[in-house]
Symmetry: C2
Subunit: 325 residues, 2 copies
């Protein structure tokens, strides 16, 4: 069964790539950068090029959706890049095309804070998509870079969907009806994503889950079933947000970038500052078969499970990443 | 007749692209940068992406040699990028692959001065290829980026040829026997280039020519004939170094970059500080047919002329730019 994970950000290693293969994962949306500048983003790409060279028996780059099928055929994991913030383009619209040429298939317009493009979900005021943001949305549409609003706030998200000529995604978050969190999404946003033919990737990051690290597989699959009722079976997939073996310095970088002198704990708190405990049923990529079982137990049919596990992600990339000529 | 110019650096405009088509030019090695950093190089690529978009009826990017034939077929000018210095990779070997991904097919190891890789032809001491240079040569070989020694000095050039597993080129210069200039090349270097299956592109930049701007077409073609005797008909092509409509500020950037507070006049002098006068028989790309006529008058056969005018450049790129896997 084609399996695509719509977000991971791990301390990449051969062991992790082997776990992906063991768990039957065919392609992963890998976070390339959080707050890196354009130049720093190239360094991250350089690091990935070394990984592709060193582990060419296990992983391969995905430049186009067809590469995902090719990865599946040859038994490798296809890696497609996403940026969690718009910092890689700095203030330069030309960097959208340049980074797309380098394989950046997905970019979030914001990461929690106000960006040059839109507003993040941690700001108290959301003034919507900026002037630069409108230009960038058009350019992302043109070159086939997917607009991801996972860390954006409500008004900006709705406006991005309205402005974009192509589907918009939320690569990793859950419905607020399942668990009220700043990062989770209202029914209104989820419906707009579905109407726009976009996609929601279900997060397995404990801060996005009912009962946190104790969330059961049954509850998780129940959330999926309820979301399918809301959005339709075509518009959901996985976006586990698996972050394996990362030091807390990476958590600090995610949360604080270069923007704060004081520690910002993001979804955590001073008394709960570290990485959350992993879920018992999704410790790492080897556990993806548990999700298939959980969906079966929930009563999903095989065709529906295939969509949720990967086919919907593939179809979404097919309808959003081809350049408009 | 397939026509490839192995170096131009003009103030690019629609008019210049139209002149190329009028002169029957099918592909041009366009200088992307002189002393730009990695980030600045991306800005230059961004500017080219805009040109490709705005003038898509006239020009197209060349990512692989086959694109040159495609350009000829559809009646456009194929543009392939080269860097005149190694500044785009800074001190970071990973940038070789990243820039190759963005279409940088050719890179000079030095521009007149000592670089991090090798020695330029204006230094008084040439200590040869550096430690970093050896690594970069291997990496350029691996990913298929052509090593260009046009502005390098003799020892560094010979060592680069020795170290490189693939042909090395001099994209734009002339033999010293025709005109003694710091930028022109000794018989020893030219023979080594030929033995290595590389290529010399004949410059039409007046500073590289006997009698400067007054050099006749006949003398130029005589130089070609003598060089063919030395290097063989497979190892020569054009590299006109046409620089049209550039302000003197660009000449200053070429010559001084950020490295000198005092004006360095390069091939010129205080009393002759500006751009040289163009040749009467090669004012711009519309005059390429003059070269064909000149070669015929010199007694070259049609097959030989086809090689000099473009086929040799195509063959060189075919044997040097495919990635080694």
């Amino acid at each position: 069964m084609l399996t695509v994970d719509g977000l991971q950000y791990s301390h990449w290693s051969r062991e992790i790539f082997e776990q992906m293969r063991e768990g039957g994962v065919d392609a992963v949306h890998a976070t390339l950068v959080y707050h890196e500048t354009t130049r720093e983003t190239l360094t991250r790409i350089g690091e990935w090029n070394r990984r592709f060279e060193a582990h060419s028996d296990l992983i391969m780059p995905v430049q186009a959706p067809s590469d995902i099928l090719r990865a599946q055929q040859v038994g490798k994991v296809g890696i497609f890049f996403g940026a969690q913030n718009c910092s890689p383009i700095e203030d330069d619209i030309d960097m959208v095309t340049v980074l797309r040429q380098l394989g950046l298939l997905i970019m979030q317009l914001t990461y929690n804070n106000q960006s040059l493009l839109a507003c993040g979900c941690y700001e108290s005021e959301d003034s919507g998509i900026t002037r630069f943001g409108r230009q960038v949305i058009r350019e992302m549409n043109r070159v086939g870079m997917v607009i991801d609003m996972s860390h954006s706030s409500e008004r900006s998200t709705l406006e991005a969907i309205e402005l974009s000529e192509r589907p918009v995604i939320i690569s990793h978050a859950n419905p607020s009806f399942f668990h009220a969190a700043k990062r989770n999404k209202s029914d209104k946003v989820l419906k707009a994503i579905a109407e726009n033919d976009g996609l929601l990737g279900f997060s397995a990051y404990p801060f996005h889950l009912k009962n946190g690290p104790d969330c059961t597989l049954e509850d998780y699959c129940d959330m999926i079933a309820r979301t399918v009722d809301l959005m339709g079976i075509e518009h959901v997939g996985l976006g586990t947000d698996l972050c394996q073996n990362q030091p807390t310095s990476v958590l600090d970088w995610m949360r604080n970038g270069r923007w704060s002198k004081e520690m910002d704990y993001g979804e955590g708190s001073a008394s709960n500052a570290g990485w959350p405990q992993p879920l018992a049923w999704l410790r790492d990529s080897r556990d993806f078969p548990n999700l298939i079982e959980g969906l079966r137990d929930k009563g999903f049919g095989e065709e529906e499970i295939a969509r949720i596990m990967g086919r919907n992600w593939l179809a979404l990339l097919e309808r959003t990443t081809t350049p408009m000529v």
